[in-house]
Subunit: 253 residues, 6 copies
């Protein structure tokens, strides 16, 4: 039994509040245990310079933690005058993961920026950001489709993410901060609704890991992500049906 | 009648949720109409270099808006690599205002940082930050007093703030964003529970203003701030009594 | 009696040397006591991006102190790699104040930058910068009017500024550095030649202040600013007449 | 057959020139095909602040490309004034990977910095940097052991890295730049001499990948890394024996 | 005859106003034709980290131009967030030149910073800064000697500087901006009162120059610098005698 | 005899490896003793903003040292977030020197960037960079001429550079690092194949120098540079003939 009473293969409670922000085209407050992230999707009718004139859209992400999201206060990156390596790594990951389920041609020459702001952190902030920002993205895309009469729905599948890790020789699902600190292997996995991998990032800084451990972690991650995607479906309601339809259509192309 | 149905001398509804963050020594979510700010107070057992060795504490503030707190997305200051002038001006104001009601000697050689993060903006973010961060500060100071047995309670009075402005020749209390955009005079006022001024910042960029207009604005601000302070008292419960006691003691010294 | 022999309601001697710089379209060296500021006005036939295509001009300001303008040397902001909060606050104030008396439509789609460089500081550098840069601006605008045949003179009124403060319970006009350091309330006021307020910025960091103190400070500021404007008129000679004419015309529109 | 004539499971030729730099404690020029990286190891008798007083050492890495390492010139990060996200991600990866095979306690309170400077790039620069910097590190550690009489050899195993990817549905080993550009899945793997995983980073930005594809990639990576480690052994000569001894001792603890 | 009526071997009028700043330990306003530079010397009882514990002092310089010192306004380096290459080059030159005539041991473990702020530029700002800052330095050192009873006077010789250049095949002394723009060779020379070279920096970007041209330029520079040093002597009055005494003593050591 | 056995007027062995980089239009590895620099020339079909529309080209340079090029590791300028003064000074020098032998009109509206990356330093890195980058430039220009059918060869002469210095009263040619550290006078000279000076930069920070010392240094530099240019001719082969032809043609214009 884990310190918070969960079984080793049990994720923390997930809560997704949609339309949390009155200005954004799509937004959620996602809570996974005590980790809380506000995700907003901003649609802009322009693309970055390197994408211009290709008739395709772009999806990107930014990630930040409030200074006191953590148990010790962190200095703001704005005050330091630069983004840290961890922040850059995470926001590149979120953007890359989301793009894997977006049909950039169907989106048209516009961009969507997902802002993931962690207002309270307790482990798994990057995976929670991915799971939450997918929902904000879907809401914004749905709104866009209706307003702009896009030819086809540009989201091709669901996308969820969890962390898994090895603690005292045993694979655990969805680590909280305390568990994360003592895990010898730490892995973040992103998968589609169709059960394909989008990102597998496993790190054994404390100690390398065997192929068997890797396999156990991947299985656990798969089941955890399926749970996340069920929560997304529930939060999205009718929009979830549109995604399923688009996914079905995409798989036949 | 104003666009949201208020009378010219009526403030928006105020809601203060205390202990909104599990890590911070003091925290609130303050909502004034659609303006929402998370304020956290972090206590650290050190002071900035220029305060060292004086046996006195320090109180400072940082202010930021989430990129999509506003109707158009703003680039993050962390991404730009520097704080803008508006941000610096606001965080200097918040810190200065709070210090006016803190007995830095009673606080002892430690510092308290108030982080004000605007998660949704609709006018008055700086005044809302001051009103909210006072409550977070009081909670943190109360906790500190109990844990460290401070000689006296280091908060000497309540502190509230509102904005006022002249729209179409008439003074209005607590402007929302739409009103703020069309006001010809804009004034932010900070006052103590005892009815003294801490900051008066009036600006007539669009058009200069007369002494009579100034007097009307100050009266309106005074009544608005009294309302804010009543909400603070309610949110603070028994801690409010400690502030009143300290204020009473301070006025007799 | 004050340390430099002045009465509490007496400003320091003011000296304005016009055309101090051979390159700038307008320039002054302004001395208020031992505070000395070089103000230059640069006219450029373009506006910042956010003003483009509106047929209106822009007026902005930059402020800096030479490293040894003060009794202890300050590190250059260029060496630090960023502008401090105080600098940003001051240059925003100067620009905003000047714009309040400029008819941006009459100016046409061009911009004027006022550079205020403090070569020696002894209190009141921001108010002295405003008073001095108004004169540099007027000289540049007058030259522009003659060269470009503008339809109407784009300066609508005089603009002066002083600091006032409460020292030992008594309101004082035009604080020098030593007085500024011991004032419990510090206020900067900007007014037009017509006696209207443009900026009122009062701060009681050390101790809050009463409504009565505020009223006394405002009265003192008003008389001090009238004196500043008389010095401007004298320095500007015939240009002063053009401003009066434009002010008269504006008040009739 | 691949464009350069290799079989799908064949790595490019590897050449490791040791002691390439006369100043560094350890150094190599590593060439994997046309990818060329200079790796130097610098030993310093101090640790970063967060490691002080723990009696343990630290290993870290920095990564950079010469501007014309690539077919189009890249602007220097020194000229831009900041490190890009890709650079930060890579140097964090290199440092983390190397630390997994260093016994930081045996190293003692000193730090080793691995500088990986890509002088010519043709795909796989991060994996080549890991493989090369391991050799530079081993040379520096060996020198340190002899000069400082360390109790035990602080490197606990070999460490190699390769990239693998899926091109046209088939797993390929050691992608060059041209192949990397058209791979739909891209994976970097780091393994120890003992065949354990240290890092697995698989990305399917273009298209998600199945569990079966993942398994094929991991197998291919394993065989490629074994080849890399044989080249390291050859380059290190007698030092390779010391690593094997330390690895054997470590596995018995 | 030159455009301003001078002979080819004639410098512009030089004017040195000492004690121009009431705060600095030493200060001048130096005018060479229309080039005007404020030089202040700041004495601090500490040295930079790389000089600590050697019992020796340090002399360094910073250089800046007001934005409108030039005929077209330059953006502030503080606003750009970094010093340009030209500024760095000039301030390194000024510091290096001054150190060549300072006995750092006699100065003791303290540092002197020369701030050279160009308030109006018309060619020769770097050489004027050197000539002027020598005087500010001498005043500060003299004051220091008297206050701290230094064993010997730490300035070992006079130091002056001029620019020379080849225009239409003929060597010219002390170029103004217009001449500088059309010179094919441009040379800055720094010499001591004893007639030795401290810096010779000749540049033929437009066209290379012959040995004969170099010789002519050096002769012209020598005579120009002697004139500068006579102006320094006059400005320094009795302090000049102390320098001569120290120079005499140094030459006998 | 010098520590490495050379005569005072003898340069170190020079080795120039052309086409060291497969991507760049021109490239060399130049070794002067233990100083090793990679120079690459990048041709781009655009010019910087200040050169636009003049029908002329531009040549510029960047300079950097690998962190461990030196005996003590230097922090990367990319990590510091800014270029140091020494780097800026050197890259300005290299660009200026190269431009003196390039016919920018013949080059046409395109730019060539020379990247000089010091991979091992032992004195004379800036002069070695100039000598090496001239060769890289010539290779790139030759390629450009052939591909674009330029009207005339845009390099008008050879260009070489050496350092000279005074050690224990005697002029020495081509100082290594150890010698450089003890030289009282340090001079870098750049000359053309025709024996004209392009840059003369002599510095006597430790002690000023006489006219006679200057003359000796210049003579020594001249002979050293002739040797450098012979090595360039040898490395360039047939391209050397084209430069001689262009030089001959230029001297007749």
């Amino acid at each position: 039994m884990r310190s918070d009473g969960r079984a080793y293969d049990q994720a923390r409670p997930v809560n997704i509040t949609t339309n949390y922000n009155k200005h954004a085209e799509g937004s959620v407050l996602i809570e996974v245990g005590d980790t809380k992230v506000i995700c907003t999707a901003t649609v802009e009718e322009r693309v970055p310079p390197f994408m211009k004139g290709q008739g395709k859209g772009w999806v990107t992400a930014e990630y930040s933690m409030l200074p006191r999201a953590t148990s010790v206060r962190n200095q703001r990156e704005a005050a330091k005058g630069k983004l840290g390596g961890r922040t850059m790594e995470i926001q590149r990951l979120i953007g890359r993961a989301l793009r894997s389920v977006v049909d950039l041609e169907a989106l048209g020459e516009r961009s969507i920026t997902l802002d993931c702001d962690v207002i309270q952190a307790d482990g798994g902030t990057r995976t929670t950001s991915i799971t939450g920002s997918f929902v904000a993205l879907a809401i914004a895309v749905d709104k866009l489709c209706r307003e702009r009469n896009l030819n086809r729905f540009p989201i091709t599948d669901f996308l969820g993410s969890v962390s898994v890790g090895v603690i005292q020789g045993k694979a655990h699902l969805d680590l909280n901060y305390e568990e994360d600190s003592k895990a010898k292997v730490d892995m973040n996995v992103v998968m589609t609704g169709g059960g394909q991998f989008v990102e597998v990032q496993g790190t054994g800084e404390e100690a390398p890991f065997s192929r068997q451990e890797l396999d156990e972690l991947l299985l656990l991650a798969e089941s955890g992500i399926q749970g996340m995607i069920r929560m997304q479906e529930q939060a999205l309601g009718p929009i979830a049906e549109r995604i399923k339809g688009a996914s079905h259509a995409a798989s036949r192309r």
